[in-house]
Symmetry: C2
Subunit: 607 residues, 2 copies
Amino acid sequence: MSNSIPPARTARLQTYSDASDPKTVKPRLDAVRREMNARGLSGYLVPRGDMFRGEYLPAHAERLRWLTSFTGSAGLAVIGRDKAALFVDGRYATQAPRQTDTSAFAVLPAVQGGYSDALRDIAGKVGPVGYDPWLFSPGDLEGLASILGTGRLKATDNLVDLIWTEDRPAPPEAPVELLGDNRAGKSRRQKLGELRNTIFEAGADALLITLPESVNWLMNMRGRDVPHTPFALSLALVPTEGRPTLFIDISKIGADAAALGADTDFAPIESLPDHLVRLGTNKKTVWTDAGSAPSILVSTLRDSGASLVEKRDPVLDLKSRKNDAEISGIRDAHRRDGVAMAKFLCWLDGVAGSAGLTEIDVVERLEAFRREDETLVDISFDTICGSGPNGAIMHYRVTETSNRTLVPGELLLVDSGAQYLSGTTDITRTVATGPVAPEHKDRNTRVLKGMIAISRLKFPLGTTGAQIDAFARHPLWEIGENFAHGTGHGVGAFLSVHEGPIGIAPRYHVPFAPGNVVSNEPGFYLEDGYGIRIENLVHVVAATEPRFLCFETLTLAPIDTRLIAMAMLTIEERDWLNAYHARVLSEIGPALDAETRGWLEKATAAV
Amino acid sequence: MSNSIPPARTARLQTYSDASDPKTVKPRLDAVRREMNARGLSGYLVPRGDMFRGEYLPAHAERLRWLTSFTGSAGLAVIGRDKAALFVDGRYATQAPRQTDTSAFAVLPAVQGGYSDALRDIAGKVGPVGYDPWLFSPGDLEGLASILGTGRLKATDNLVDLIWTEDRPAPPEAPVELLGDNRAGKSRRQKLGELRNTIFEAGADALLITLPESVNWLMNMRGRDVPHTPFALSLALVPTEGRPTLFIDISKIGADAAALGADTDFAPIESLPDHLVRLGTNKKTVWTDAGSAPSILVSTLRDSGASLVEKRDPVLDLKSRKNDAEISGIRDAHRRDGVAMAKFLCWLDGVAGSAGLTEIDVVERLEAFRREDETLVDISFDTICGSGPNGAIMHYRVTETSNRTLVPGELLLVDSGAQYLSGTTDITRTVATGPVAPEHKDRNTRVLKGMIAISRLKFPLGTTGAQIDAFARHPLWEIGENFAHGTGHGVGAFLSVHEGPIGIAPRYHVPFAPGNVVSNEPGFYLEDGYGIRIENLVHVVAATEPRFLCFETLTLAPIDTRLIAMAMLTIEERDWLNAYHARVLSEIGPALDAETRGWLEKATAAV
């Protein structure tokens, strides 16, 4: 980052509207159908993502939202000649029908990992189904073809872009910012040198990088193009010999980022296919990630004569192993966040019993405490603040419609995080707001035992997240209960709050390595009842035993001891909790005002 | 099986020779090279397996052994114009160089899951590399092509078969035997009906089954073609409409198996390609398992115009979920095996301190106790009996060369199993032979804790072996130790002692289902020191909690309590052990003579 630290934001970072405009849906759908018919298409696909496949989109790329009025973070619209459907996962089963016009789009469940056979029903059994090849990867298309039948998918213009011309927001223009080598821990040149070796060893002449988080990490740059993730939308081409090319809206490269030019060329994104054709014509071998690269780029390479090495983007692995400078920044971010959390939890304890406090009040106060830190850049995602039954909605985001007034005695689940200049945080605490029911205590203690099991685990080199996930579930399994999400996800270094390729869940098959930062967040949810989740971020370090690794905790905030059935903890678990709380007090205490410090002393007292 | 139960074998089932004849290697290799040159091949591949891909081969199919003199159960010979190598995995790093002529074949390590880049070095960098397309699956060829380069592999005659004409054993001719419906739990017709539905639902017109364990399970038949696995070598083609065809040496279908003819046609194996061509010509869709089908069959289908559904052989899943009749047979087998194990362990306790007792003595005595049961058909694999440092060799098989005399105080690891008419067993016990060293006690207790953790586990529907494997390792991980094999493998019902698709190890991604039988066998090995393994078979049953499963133990034999540090067990672990021992005594005790029963009472006394 340049030396001019931006001021802490004064405007609200989180909004609470879920307004939609179902009236707009039918005319827009009709317009898409006209374009379909003009092209002889029997169906057309509109995904939620853009070519960069990030969680957050710039406003001008919210095509699914524009078309269907649905504001969720995942979905696929399938438009047939007579029928149309919006496929959404379980999280959005209630929200999507409320937001769209269900007489235009039937809302159908997206089956895990893809879309159900119903897709064929909507798109019709014969005839070409159009899609924008910038918005689907070869991997996506393979999944779709297995449902629709091979040979039916047809790359076309983006039909939404043809129609959505009026009132369309402009693309983001935030300037690129640079990270100093001391912040990044490694210079751009060093990273490029190491990456070139990796590309060479894989037998490739060049690597095509299509994920902005990879490009931004590699180039030691950041940006402000989308909410909550501080990267600049861009792609890159890195040859084993010669200079890399950064594909980006060149107007974003201002004086602050001019130093980039020493290590890379710049070119507009639209010119990337031409660069790929040149590689193909020269019979080069290009490494691409078929799971995330836009299919148009992969087919351009193939059609122009390039050989392909199809493997996971290697930058994902490199960037998941944080170096010492990055870990030191992340520690700094967690201390800052710990201060905000202590203030927040102290405040909450004082007001939880008062009448009329709403979920939005809680979220706003937490955000305000975070904004007191001058290095705050953004929240890392919309805070999940679920009181009572809302706590059981796993990806709940409070809106003006859903906002609830807290009832003392209910559990309150708060999952939040922030982007500081030094790093990214993500923390969940579940707190008591009055007398605690024995069932709440039992379930919360089981969740805590699972969380401590991961925190205390030592495991040999080569161990994956798939192998250790169940330790977080075991205390719930013992009573025939479970939680329906992964135990943890990777977290970036002042980048995306969700990143691969490591994590703690049955789907993670990449071994842990020192420097990995991962969340540890078991939970328990009783539908229409309450929700519990306890989340710390941890990082992977070498254990004292040779060839073994373990986790070290990054997050610094007290865990509500009023919700713990102490008799259910083993001595080792109790020792862990006391040591953790002692550390929280010693690292956060000195930065607090007297009142908050007094509260924290009580909250972290040994049990 | 017919009603005439075969007599218990009187001949020894296990042999102890590892004799090889390195002198034969060079002339045979030269002869292969002459055939290679005649065909313009720059390399030739000889795998250990035959077209049926089983663990055990009939003598006439032991091509790798004939060529290299190496007797191990896995390996690949790669013959280049100037160099030749025998690739073997870690188990055979010592044995292979002793058995082959290393001036002809360099012995090289097979890297996990395949063969290293060294393969390209041996086979040369250009020119065609020949292979017998009956002996490699499309999956094998894909792995080989990724090393050798695409387009270099060339299907040819089997060059070994051209040379190995003199003194070649005849193919097995054991008659097919039938299982009654009461033993199989389901008639052949029922199984075929259910399988046809599965084939239809996958969009296929027919299923090609190439694994004899699948064919034998489906047809409720068994055979004696190979050691230790009681199946008849055969393949099958099952159409959704019309009769299936069993491809087998028809002379094996005697009077006892004539009933098969009511449900299936018979045809010689050589005619299978013609049958596939007919399916292709009629534009049929055929389900094949590219991981195990001989590549010649898959290419025949493809070349003749068939469409392919490439998925795992569905019979593997069906047969892994044992029905009540099968479980009841398996329980019977474990009671019989428990009686033999009690007699054996009682005998061992009496003689372990005597001078001169060798590993072979122990193996022979165990086999003799098993042979006392009139329903014994075979051992299910060669007994692993490792005393002291030999216990640390994970797949140790005692031979006249390796045979050791027991030294009192050493640990003795005995891993063995049997094929009874009612089912297949596999059990490991580690026993004290004198005063117990504290380290032995600590490690053995950790292994036992891991074994009990799996035994006591309750887990939700959908859980895979990959997810639970680490519970067996956790007590060792706590001190920075581990064991280098999976925790468990599936076991057949009077079929192969190792079967898929479920198991307990990071590589098993198929969810458990009621009826699965799996081994639970954590261990600990100190190289040149000692080995510990404790193994029970368990089967999956519904837990009392809805949508949860758990394991029920099948194996019935005492666990050596002299090797347990009782203070390291939790109350729950001790309760499990006492309940298990009480069950062993009550189920096995009544069948024992007074002396053995007295011994068993002491061995299973509550701790």
